[in-house]
């Protein structure tokens, strides 16, 4: 725990309702977020990611634990005394003020001079590529524009940390993808630590330097997108990120044995019951594959074809093949097929 950490969460707990009987939104969570990092809190609804963000912003008080900003404890400070700013999910632009007044708000509160404020507002509008909307009323803008103004309003104050609460979830697909790139660019340009909350794992993988996967008030794993995707720490993480096939098996001396007797070789040294996690895109249908299965369903999704197989008595084992040669009909429902499973593609999970 060094002072270089932008945000340091120590044993943070948050309980709603009466102590001891309430709902635990956060359960003794600890985390270090670095300077100049695009950090994402990822998880399904109710996992505690938004609660954690709101605690950092100051809108809630924790039941226990410490939050430090560059070493200084800040959990006792009200939000208007914390040098962090938030981009809200619903943008929360002040409807009775113009765009320029919205952006200027934080600067006014801090007592900056009129010239400084005006100059900053102009700079911010240019930063989010909306130089002409300053005089418009905030509620006259489109959703995408409102989102960028909310961003500008927060960034205008040069916060040490910028918090983004599912800010992209109200946008449509195309706009969303554009904004993801924009946000990434802004973060690297400004050098401000971004803490981003989302339930969309693809979004997290695209934008983040590091991700914390959360579930039920706990952090399951922290790592780079590659680490999270390739080496999930447990079944929950593996299941949440991307698609995974799970096979129950028994690890023995000569390999891992499936319930129907088939054996796969893995790198594990563990013995006993295990779960195998295999990504659908890492395996392929090939005549010399080690795994035997029967085709239950063939799903064409444009870029790929996904084969749903029955393997070792378990249905739903997916194999994803890229349609490199177009929509070639290869296998059909009912066919017996063989699946090529590289050893490196098998993650052995011990629960």
């Amino acid at each position: 725990m060094g002072n270089s950490s932008a945000i340091s969460i120590e044993q943070l707990s948050m309980e709603f309702g009466d102590p001891g009987q309430g709902v635990k939104a956060l359960d003794t969570v600890s985390l270090e977020i670095q300077s100049n990092e695009f950090f994402t809190l990822l998880g399904p609804s109710g996992c505690g990611k938004t609660t954690l963000l709101r605690l950092i912003a100051g809108f809630e008080q924790p039941s226990a634990g410490t939050i430090r900003l560059y070493g200084e404890a800040m959990q006792d400070l009200p939000p208007f005394r914390r040098p962090v700013n938030t981009v809200f999910q619903s943008y929360a632009l002040f409807p009775h003020m113009t765009v320029a007044q919205n952006i200027a708000f934080g600067l006014e509160m801090r007592g900056l001079s009129k010239e400084e404020i005006s100059e900053t507002v102009t700079r911010m509008l240019a930063l989010v590529k909306l130089p002409d909307v300053g005089a418009r009323r905030a509620d006259q803008l489109s959703g995408g524009q409102q989102q960028r103004i909310a961003l500008a309003r927060a960034l205008a104050n040069r916060p040490k940390v910028l918090l983004l609460d599912e800010s992209l979830s109200a946008l449509d697909q195309k706009l969303r993808k554009d904004m993801q790139i924009e946000l990434k660019r802004l973060q690297s340009e400004t050098g401000i630590t971004f803490i981003f909350v989302t339930h969309d794992q693809e979004e997290a993988l695209t934008m983040s330097d590091r991700i914390a996967v959360m579930s039920k008030g706990r952090i399951l794993q922290v790592g780079t997108p590659t680490e999270i995707y390739e080496a999930p720490a447990n079944r929950t993480v593996a299941d949440f990120i991307g698609e995974t096939n799970f096979l129950t098996a028994e690890a023995g001396d000569d390999g891992v044995k499936l319930s129907d007797g088939q054996v796969l070789s893995t790198l594990t040294e563990h013995r006993g019951p295990v779960t195998l996690a295999i990504r659908p895109e890492r395996v392929s249908l090939a005549a010399d594959g080690q795994l035997l299965g029967k085709v239950e369903n063939v799903v064409y999704v444009g870029t790929d074809t996904v084969y749903h197989l029955d393997v070792a008595g378990q249905g739903g084992f997916r194999v994803r093949q890229q349609n490199r040669d177009g929509a070639v009909g290869g296998y059909r429902v009912g066919d017996q097929v063989r699946v090529q499973v590289p050893t490196a593609a098998i993650k052995v999970l011990v629960e």
Partner: protein
């Protein structure tokens, strides 16, 4: 066992309660306390020249509901007041029924108009709401008196031969009450209808229901919360109405409101006035209790 969160919440709550205090205090002192005092007065002895004898208790006022004392100070069963209660109830029920009869189709009509027309019509419905009731009751006096517009109009149209003598009768009071409370019936029913999903009615049409059946089986049941709310909003206040029976009923059609006022005017019987008021209040509170338990949305007893 106090966490920072709980401390912050408690502080916030304290601040909020402080803000509400002035208004609450005003209402407690000048609304609740007087009601309490009124109850106490109802069980006090009446003073000789009006007012009460504080500290001397008696249930005479409540006895007066049913009995009066004859010259030998013996209790004799007296139906005068009971008649007045009964008349008030009856007139209020008639008023409620009348309001439903006219109000429901009106609300339906409103709900089916285009948005612009609807806003205009709604505005027209609300305007009389806020104008002085006294003045409007007076307007009816002009219309209903002998030689007034109603008489002239009906005679002119050849419907009647001579004056109806409408003013100062039960009928005048009913007309007046209807007039006062019609908007109270139309607005809640309109609100219910406006919120309704009209595609359900389209589905009913699709399944072979004609307009009558669609009304009976779909529209009316779905508008029921509004209908019940409107009925309560008409029945309860009309029970205690003072102005209409006073102006349009003359001294002849007494409702509870007039009876109460008499005790503070010529009759000088404060305990009786207080007792009557308390009885009226109790009934109103009871009715509201029944309503919120049985009919309010989300309550356990809500009917299907």
């Amino acid at each position: 066992m106090s966490t920072p969160r709980l401390l912050a919440e408690r502080r916030q709550l304290g601040r909020r309660l402080l803000l509400s205090t002035p208004a609450m205090l005003t209402l407690l002192v000048f609304m609740l306390l007087p009601l309490g005092i009124m109850f106490v007065v109802s069980i006090l002895q009446s003073g000789e020249y009006g007012g009460v004898k504080w500290g001397e208790y008696s249930l005479e006022a409540y006895r007066n509901f049913f009995y009066e004392r004859d010259l030998d100070d013996v209790l004799v069963f007296n139906t005068d007041y009971l008649e007045i209660f009964q008349r008030s109830f009856w007139l209020s029920i008639l008023t409620t029924a009348g309001c439903l009869l006219i109000g429901f189709p009106t609300a339906l009509y409103l709900a089916l108009q285009s948005e612009r027309k609807r806003n205009l019509l709604l505005f027209l419905v609300t305007v009389p709401f806020w104008t002085n009731l006294l003045v409007r009751a007076y307007a009816w006096m002009l219309l209903l008196r002998n030689g007034g517009l109603v008489d002239e109009g009906l005679q002119g149209l050849g419907i009647t031969q001579h004056g109806l003598g409408l003013l100062y009768t039960d009928n005048a009071v009913i007309i007046g009450l209807l007039y006062t409370y019609l908007p109270f019936m139309v607005l809640p029913i309109y609100t219910s209808l406006e919120k309704m999903d009209w595609r359900l009615v389209e589905a009913a049409f699709d399944l072979g229901a004609n307009r009558f059946h669609a009304l009976k089986r779909i529209i009316v049941p779905l508008a029921m919360p509004g209908i019940v709310a409107g009925s309560i909003l008409v029945f309860i206040p009309s029970l205690g109405n003072y102005i209409i029976p006073e102006l349009l009923g003359g001294g002849k059609t007494l409702m509870i409101g007039n009876l109460i006022q008499l005790q503070f005017g010529s009759s000088h019987n404060w305990p009786l006035g207080a007792a009557l008021s308390f009885a009226l209040l109790s009934f109103v509170l009871l009715a509201m209790l029944v309503y919120s338990v049985r009919f309010k949305p989300g309550s356990a007893g809500g009917h299907p």
